[in-house]
């Protein structure tokens, strides 16, 4: 069955986006890519060093991948915009994940600054994927600002706490007519599957794979979980009832 995810002009068959930041060595990246089946990989521009050969993170990313440079380290919209432009000028393509964080304690994104950066960069022709706290009005503004998708957090970065923001994610999925990519917080394949069952368009994760005992095995587990969750969503989950539904209804004697 064809079920592509279309972002910008790109059609993706994999709905698992992965990161590059936390591996024990960059040489693991090509294998993680292969085992996860992922087609989109995010890389922090702050870590990219074109001058270094072996240690240059980008040289480890297979050519077929869509690069999603992120603006990690940006504390304001202005910094995010400058990082995005540097990334494009540096040949990393025109996709960008806006990450504006000015809270080093919890690493929560600043939605206001993110909206500002999105407006500017979308107008400049970037395919903008903003990382955000799952707030409906901010998501709608991001959509109006020209975001190609929105990336709400499941729980804080690196926390592996899963979908703590589930109720808010559900609202975003229902109301924002854009792909919703759940980013941050997913620690287990079952959580990725759950996000997909809810109707998320994709999930992005890094820590869960990079810090697993066997990152390759975990990459494969996530590939299957994301695909299972998506299939379940498409198949339409049976309605969940709070109480058991009696097979012989109590009011059946009333007839029609």
């Amino acid at each position: 069955m064809q079920d592509p995810l279309v972002i910008g002009n790109t059609s993706l068959s994999s709905r698992l986006f992965i990161g590059t930041g936390k591996y024990s060595r960059n040489t693991l990246i090509p294998e993680v890519v292969a085992r996860s089946g992922s087609q989109v990989i995010t890389v922090a521009l702050r870590r990219v060093d074109p001058g270094a050969d072996e240690e240059n993170i980008v040289s480890h990313i297979p050519d077929h991948m869509t690069l999603l440079p992120n603006t990690s380290g940006a504390r304001t919209a202005e910094e995010a915009v400058r990082i995005a432009r540097l990334a494009r000028a540096g040949g990393l393509g025109n996709w960008v994940k806006i990450e504006v964080i000015n809270d080093q304690k919890y690493l929560l994104p600043d939605n206001l600054e993110t909206i500002k950066a999105t407006e500017i960069l979308a107008a400049e022709g970037f395919v903008v994927l903003p990382y955000m706290s799952p707030d409906l009005s901010a998501a709608l503004r991001l959509r109006d600002a020209g975001a190609a998708a929105v990336m709400p957090l499941g729980s804080p970065i690196g926390s592996n706490r899963g979908l703590r923001t589930k109720e808010l994610l559900r609202i975003l999925i229902e109301e924002v007519k854009l792909p919703i990519i759940v980013d941050a917080g997913i620690g287990r394949p079952s959580e990725a599957a759950e996000a997909m069952e809810m109707g998320a368009a994709a999930v992005l994760l890094n820590t869960a794979i990079a810090t697993a005992r066997d990152p390759l095995g975990m990459a494969e587990a996530f590939r299957e979980a994301v695909s299972a969750g998506r299939k379940a969503y498409l198949a339409g989950l049976g309605p969940v009832e709070e109480a058991a539904v009696a097979s012989s209804p109590l009011t059946g004697f009333l007839g029609n």
Binding site: K22, S24, N26, R46, A52, G73, R82, L86, Y106, N160
Partner: protein
């Protein structure tokens, strides 16, 4: 309001009885929490936590891997000048020692920079002795202008400056500030800093905050462990870090746990900070400040460094010389003796062998023309 006001309150705590009364149950409670209070920090630094180092280490490692992954940021210090107007009883650069002082010319800075950059490092920490006369802000600024051609991040460890001076250096391309209080205990501070402007405790204590206000991206603080009771010093350092983190959430606050090292003179410190104590300090820092960077210097011996890497450390120096011009010419007087003299490539290999990834570049100076 500055940390000084909190410090005045914290210093009144009955440390002796807190250390004595802390129990195993207190330690277990602190270990089970996500967000630790001041009292939890005291408990983790108490003797009662001694038997729990392994449990603390397990949690510290989990937190570190979740937040930082397997990345270990590398940097190296570059000594620009060893002129100093102070007399600190524990340092070879003290003005009372008579040795030929030197200061790199811009050409020499360039040579050092090229030699260091050739090892792959992109983050540098520049240091000077404390002398506004011999190494004024204008000199540091001129050096930074050369260095930013070679490095993607330049931090400074120099005498405390005013906020406008910090701003000036920030605009020149400096993005990180390291400044150690050395000793938080005020009476001891006065004893150890015999002469010179460094005697001004308050000016030093407030300098990291001025750095945060000026807009540095990262500020690194620390106490020189061994100069006074290590539990109390570690406690106050961590409280200082949390104060800064709460008040300046956009600045990355890091901590260093340097231990006293041999130097030219014969002063030896009051309190012996054993390896176990050092481990307890690092673990308490990590559990109290799960997202903060923790920096480990080459003051520690190689074998110990290799173990400490798994306890919460996120940044380490490599290929270190503590002499002016030590990366090219050498022959100067080291500020103190280093213990781990491995080269950058040796450290890189060791990190990979330990399952960690050396990160040479973790920031880009924005908006500055790179030549």
């Amino acid at each position: 309001m500055s940390f000084y006001e909190s410090l005045t309150r914290l210093e009144q705590l009955p440390f002796e009885s807190i250390w004595k009364e802390a129990t195993a149950a207190d330690v277990q409670r602190a270990l089970a929490k996500d967000w630790l209070t001041e009292m939890d920090l005291l408990v983790l630094l108490s003797p009662a936590a001694g038997p729990y180092l392994e449990a603390m280490a397990q949690k510290a490692q989990r937190l570190t891997r979740a937040h930082f992954g397997h990345a270990m940021q590398l940097f190296t210090p570059m000594y620009l000048a060893d002129f100093c107007v102070n007399h600190c009883t524990y340092c070879s650069f003290s003005s009372i020692y008579d040795f030929p002082r030197s200061k790199l010319t811009l050409e020499e800075v360039r040579r050092e920079a090229a030699a260091i950059a050739a090892t792959g490092l992109r983050h540098i920490l520049i240091l000077t002795g404390e002398s506004r006369r011999d190494n004024p802000v204008a000199y540091v600024k001129a050096c930074v202008e050369v260095l930013r051609e070679y490095f993607s991040s330049v931090s400074i460890e120099i005498n405390p400056l005013s906020a406008p001076e910090y701003k000036e250096l920030l605009e020149a391309g400096v993005d990180g500030l390291t400044l150690y209080q050395e000793v938080y205990h005020q009476a001891t501070y006065r004893e150890l800093h015999v002469k010179g402007p460094k005697r001004n405790y308050r000016n030093r204590l407030d300098a990291p905050e001025r750095g945060c206000q000026a807009g540095f991206r990262s500020v690194n603080i620390g106490a020189l462990l061994g100069m006074y009771d290590w539990r109390q010093e570690a406690f106050l350092t961590a409280m200082d870090a949390r104060y800064l983190q709460d008040k300046y959430p956009d600045c990355e606050i890091s901590l260093s746990p340097p231990r006293f090292r041999p130097y030219l003179g014969d002063f030896s410190p009051e309190s012996d900070v054993t390896d176990r104590a050092l481990v307890q300090i690092i673990l308490a820092y990590r559990l109290f400040l799960p997202r903060s960077g923790i920096t480990l210097s080459t003051r520690e011996p190689a074998a110990l460094r290799d173990h400490l890497l798994h306890l919460g450390i996120t940044k380490m120096s490599a290929g270190v010389s503590t002499e002016v011009g030590g990366h090219t010419s050498g022959g100067g007087t080291p500020q103190f003796e280093i213990s781990d003299s491995r080269t950058v490539s040796e450290i890189t290999e060791m990190l990979y062998a330990q399952g960690l990834q050396p990160v040479f570049k973790d920031w880009d100076m924005l908006g500055l023309e790179r030549v």
